[in-house]
């Protein structure tokens, strides 16, 4: 009997980006435990190499699917298409940058550990699985892998009580939200008889059991949106984000803000447009409302903060609002053969924002100094004088976050707003522009603190901000990417459109 049980065909090479990350994580844990004294830096180098290899493999597979077409893997559990490879590349890039920042951070804080890197890798796997999933339960597994890694990472600095507070808050609320998501999946399963995206779509046409108006399914849709909205920190499910971002070690915050958002938004886009397109008129107004609330709350609360990490946390909420504008735009054409600009614009925004926020938090991590707690605006005072190059890099990154032309941030914002205007969602476009107008003020506050505010007595007695090599490299990469995309965005915009077209054209 046992011998007769056949597993589904796996497609090992098609899964190679995931397998490389998984293998690296296991090696890191096992070898790290057996041989506790690796030379410092080797952990980071090893993880970064694995992330780099993942990026290369994802590009190869992207090329492959653009010839061969998108396909399902592992018993139709995950989809291999341009969309998932785009998300994979973006997540691997954040893992790579996070390694560069974390190495210096761990040295400065005298923390040990292969665990952090292993958790980056597992979180990356979780995010990629979320983006690739073709099944609500697989999505749930990815979500949990990502989240569990984040909970531990938030508490990874043993001597910071803020980190532990943030971890427990994140854990309780995260578990709470996951339960809702899972309940949503169960209700959709009850209503449609399946948790697979393509079968959910098909069920509406074939099964007599299901009506589009079936209350069970509608409740399920609502709860699925709750779970995803929590993960992307959309209002009113955003409460965890400021506390967690502020409390977590800064490199971890950077990683959460980038990789976490990519995974969650990729999952949200896929679920909404591939599993629930028939309900688009039901969920689009919800996304609209959430987007507006997120833009408003994020921008307004960011302006009144004094801690830069918290400020950037609210700014990250506001950015989530922008991406939701793209999701809303995608909602107008969800399920139609004609690809919508909204999906491409959102994915592009995610990639550009991820790199941007990595660089920004890398600078914050340096300014935090030993102990990682000088992240108030005062900590940035006089940075333009003492570390002009670092301050200049930070200025570019902040300008980009504000969406100033000739930076990647502008390309990103322009993309989602044009997508909204294309779908005649003028009201949300107007709100998004107003939010960017308000939010600009907060980035300006940081710049003023760095460049204009004069030193106060005692400033020179503070520990100097050091600029170690690998973190500097991360900042340089991030700034360079920001400017290159700002000056010549064509290639990357085309890439995002290409990637999402592969998904839409072949998906059921």
């Amino acid at each position: 009997m046992i011998a007769a049980l056949e597993g589904p065909p796996i497609g090992w090479f098609d899964l190679s980006p995931l397998l490389v990350l998984l293998g690296a994580a296991l090696v890191m844990l096992v070898v790290g435990a057996l041989l506790p004294r690796w030379p410092r830096g080797l952990y980071a180098a090893f993880t970064a190499t694995a992330a780099g290899a993942t990026m290369v493999l994802a590009m190869v597979l992207w090329d492959d699917v653009s010839d061969q077409g998108a396909r399902y893997l592992v018993g139709d559990a995950v989809t291999l298409d341009g969309f998932s490879m785009f998300a994979t590349i973006a997540i691997a890039a954040t893992v790579l940058l996070a390694c560069l920042v974390t190495d210096d951070y761990l040295r400065r804080e005298q923390l040990d550990g292969p665990e952090v890197y292993a958790l980056y890798l597992t979180a990356g796997i979780g995010g990629i699985v979320m983006a690739m999933a073709n099944d609500l339960v697989v999505l749930f597994l990815g979500l949990e892998v990502l989240s569990l890694s984040f909970y531990v990472l938030a508490a990874s600095h043993r001597r910071r009580s803020a980190g532990q507070e943030s971890a427990i808050k994140y854990f309780v609320l995260g578990g709470f939200a996951s339960a809702f998501f899972l309940y949503g999946a169960a209700l959709v399963y009850g209503g449609t008889g399946s948790v697979r995206y393509d079968e959910i779509v098909a069920a509406v046409n074939t099964t007599l059991l299901v009506e589009r108006k079936d209350a069970l399914v509608l409740a399920g849709v609502a709860l699925l949106i709750v779970g995803l909205a929590f993960k992307v920190s959309a209002v009113p499910f955003h409460f965890w984000a400021p506390d967690v971002y502020q409390g977590a070690p800064t490199p971890v915050t950077a990683f959460m803000a980038s990789a976490g958002k990519i995974g969650a938004f990729a999952a949200m886009l896929r679920v909404l447009t591939e599993a629930l397109p028939q309900w688009r008129d039901d969920w689009r107004p919800v996304v609209w409302t959430i987007a507006v609330a997120t833009l408003a709350v994020g921008s307004i609360l960011a302006v009144v903060q004094t801690n830069v990490k918290r400020m950037l946390a609210y700014s990250s909420i506001s950015h989530a609002g922008f991406i939701l504008v793209g999701v809303e735009a995608a909602g107008h054409t969800a399920g139609e053969a004609d690809p919508s600009g909204g999906v491409a614009a959102s994915m592009l925004y995610l990639l550009l924002y991820a790199v941007l926020v990595m660089g920004t938090f890398a600078v914050v991590s340096l300014v935090g100094r030993t102990g990682d707690d000088q992240t108030d605006l005062d900590g940035f005072r006089g940075l333009g004088r003492t570390r002009p190059a670092l301050a200049l890099g930070m200025t570019v990154l902040l300008l980009a976050q504000a969406g100033v032309p000739l930076t990647s941030g502008f390309v990103a914002k322009f993309g989602v707003i044009s997508a909204a205007v294309d779908q005649r969602s003028y009201a949300i476009a107007i709100v998004a522009m107003l939010a960017s107008v308000i939010a600009a003020f907060l980035y300006l506050r940081i710049m003023v603190s760095m460049w204009i505010v004069d030193a106060e007595a005692g400033d020179d007695a503070r520990e100097a901000v050091r600029t170690p090599l690998s973190t500097s490299l991360a900042v340089v990469l991030s700034v360079g990417f920001t400017l290159v995309v700002g000056f010549a965005p064509g290639w990357i915009v085309s890439a995002a459109e290409h990637a999402t077209t592969i998904a839409t054209a072949v998906a059921p």
Binding site: V172, G175, L187, G190, P242
Partner: protein, 109 residues
């Protein structure tokens, strides 16, 4: 009591679904009202298991085996959550033995 009435009272899938919904709500309210981090955490687990019950009963209702296999995945996830959650809670309680969830409010605004 006649047989017809007994048949009427035989538990159907709906009963289980309602029970699951109630358990879920108990868990949800528990997270909101309990102060002990450990109990809050147990309430989250209760919510997950309520969903498991839903999956099983729906699978039976639909005559579909996949709903039952999903439960195993969820149980694995719940076990992993226990490991991580207890780790974090123990780390905090070791530092502040009497801490309740309400005491952990340094990060705010």
């Amino acid at each position: 009591m006649n047989a017809a009435l007994l048949a009427e009272l035989r538990p159907t899938a709906t009963w289980y679904l309602v029970l699951a919904a109630l358990l879920f709500c108990v868990g949800m309210v528990g997270v909101m009202v309990r102060r002990n981090p450990l109990v809050m955490f147990m309430c989250v687990e209760l919510m997950l298991n309520a969903v498991n019950l839903s999956f099983v009963s729906l699978a039976r209702e639909l005559g579909d085996i996949r709903g039952q296999t999903i439960v195993f995945f969820v149980m694995v996830v719940a076990a992993a959550e226990v490991v991580v959650g207890l780790g974090i809670i123990v780390a905090i309680l070791r530092r502040r033995p009497q801490a309740t969830a309400d005491d952990l409010a340094e990060l705010k605004g």
